[in-house]
């Protein structure tokens, strides 16, 4: 449709926000930034480990503010997709592989890009480890995790 011939007005909704990470989110992101591991909460009653961490159990409604633990940032590709479009519907070149990674030792997981892998080699249930930004460049945000890479492809060194 040629919008110049229709009785329409163009407009935007110019609203700006602050998003509060919250008590649980603050601990998660600061732990990630400082030590490169993932802070999680555990409900002993339900035997559920929350990642992203929450201050409450969504099943039994228990307070989990004293039920913290830490896990290494590795797991398995629970599912993935090959993203071929950007946010405006334009082609992404090259396409990006985005996965939901079920993190070991948790019942949750994180969404991130798959790195250092050929498209045809990606598999559901493939083990992966997080690729973290160098400690000095981390800002306490999700992009401190640059992505996830197949476990065998990582150089043999301990996560800092």
């Amino acid at each position: 449709m040629n919008l110049t011939h229709a009785r329409v007005w163009r407009g935007t909704m110019p609203v700006q926000y602050l998003y509060t990470a919250g008590v649980a989110g603050e601990r998660f992101f600061q732990t990630l930034r400082r030590r490169g591991v993932l802070a999680v909460t555990r409900c002993a009653e339900c035997q559920v480990t929350y990642l992203p961490p929450r201050l409450y159990c969504e099943r039994c409604f228990a307070d989990l503010s004293q039920a913290w633990a830490e896990v290494a940032p590795g797991g398995r590709v629970h599912t993935y997709t090959v993203v071929c479009e950007d946010q405006d519907g334009h082609p992404l070149d090259p396409p990006q592989v985005v996965a939901f990674v079920r993190i070991d030792g948790t019942d949750g997981g994180l969404i991130g890009r798959l790195l250092r892998v050929r498209l045809q080699d990606v598999r559901v249930e493939m083990p992966v480890d997080a690729v973290l930004a160098p400690p000095r460049r981390r800002r306490g945000r999700m992009d401190d995790i640059v992505g996830f890479a197949p476990r065998r492809a990582l150089p043999r060194r301990r996560t800092p």
Binding site: Y50, Q87, L110, I111
Partner: protein
């Protein structure tokens, strides 16, 4: 007092990809006029009004203030549901069963063509701390869900394509559908990958429209010409956290349908339900939802769809309206369009879209906040 509730009027504006002439409020007026006429009532007879809308879809804030006049509801009891149209139906059922109202109008509309990039709205629906990935289409969530569903069930991508072929073809017989078309499975499989395995033609295209239903108590329904009784309603919302949901199964739809079946006294849905309208915002969701609703055994939906069992003439006609893939995706109005289509089926007024023996039906809907309704 009777507990029974009926849909006594349905009115809709035909769904179209563009509607440059009318504002959404004028479309709502047209739908309301048709619905009240269909029920043989006037706006003054309606005791309470429910409008289903969300700010970002309208381009205004505090949208609930924009809903009364086109329904004839100024200075009358109105409330707004920022959810799915079926939650509006459930609210109307509760208003009637609690004795607050005898006649309730439920309205939803969708001026999708006014949103220049709906993907921007979808992106903002994701959790800002953990789930928003910059620079990629928000359909990535559906792409991941589809992959896991296919992985767990072994369903071939051909079956997903067949859902598109079937629904687009069904839409040719529905005068209010926007996207009727004869396609082959290869046409669908050849369409561009958006978030592989999800393809462009497997995503329902947006459409503009408005729809109003009139619901009535048994006493009020007896005075109307064509009541269709609601035997059960159910709704359930999954965890808002993507990390806490099942990626392969539609757990919310299982719970919602169980609630509706229990209320309706339906013990064997696969034998008692004669046709179904289920959510197909993305084509794979139809397969997932049929299994969740126990209309087809788990991991069997693909086979039955490929065999033609869900076509209009099949054993279980599914989305004979054309579904969202064939009618057009119309935000929170989707479920009300489908409910209106089910009402016409049960009345025997569906014309070329009519299925045989349409006595008991389910209409069900799911995306991120999920509920279900059983008529």
């Amino acid at each position: 007092m009777s507990d029974r509730v009926a849909v006594v009027g349905a009115g809709e504006v035909p769904l179209r990809p563009l509607s440059p002439r009318q504002s959404y409020r004028e479309m709502g007026f047209e739908a309301a006029t048709r619905a009240y006429d269909d029920a043989g009532v006037t706006h003054q007879d309606i005791d309470s009004f429910v409008s289903v809308c969300e700010d970002f879809h309208e381009g205004t804030s505090i949208t609930d203030e924009y809903t009364p006049d086109q329904l004839g509801a100024v200075l009358r009891p109105v409330h707004t549901v920022a959810g799915d149209g079926l939650q509006g139906v459930a609210a109307a059922v509760m208003l009637i069963r609690t004795g607050i109202a005898d006649l309730v109008a439920v309205e939803a509309h969708c001026k999708t063509s006014n949103i220049l990039a709906h993907e921007q709205v979808l992106t903002m629906a994701l959790d800002p701390s953990y789930e928003r990935l910059p620079g990629i289409t928000p359909h990535f969530v559906a792409g991941m869900e589809m992959r896991r569903y296919l992985h767990e069930t072994g369903a071939p991508e051909d079956a997903v394509a067949m859902v598109v072929v079937k629904n687009r073809r069904h839409a040719l017989s529905n005068p209010v559908a926007a996207y009727g078309e004869v396609l082959s499975p290869d046409d669908v499989l050849a369409s561009a990958a958006v978030c592989a395995p999800l393809r462009e033609r497997e995503i329902s295209p947006p459409a503009d429209g408005a729809v109003v239903l009139v619901l009535a108590s048994e006493e009020a329904a007896r005075r109307t010409p064509k009541p269709v009784w609601i035997r059960g309603v159910g709704w359930a919302s999954d965890s808002p956290w993507l990390a806490a949901r099942s990626w392969g199964q539609a757990s919310y739809a299982s719970l919602a349908t169980q609630m509706a079946y229990q209320m309706a006294g339906i013990a064997k849905p696969d034998q008692e339900i004669r046709f179904a309208e289920v959510d197909d915002t993305y084509a794979y969701k139809e397969l997932q939802h049929l299994e969740a609703a126990q209309l087809i055994p788990r991991a069997d939906a693909a086979r039955i769809v490929l065999e033609g069992g869900t076509r209009r003439g099949g054993r279980l006609p599914v989305n004979s309206s054309g579904g969202s893939l064939g009618m057009g995706y119309c935000f929170d109005a989707t479920a009300l369009y489908r409910t209106a289509a089910a009402v016409r089926q049960i009345r025997g007024e569906a014309g070329r879209a009519q299925v045989e023996r349409a006595a008991t039906t389910g209409t069900q809907r799911g995306l991120n906040q999920i509920e279900d309704c059983e008529l």
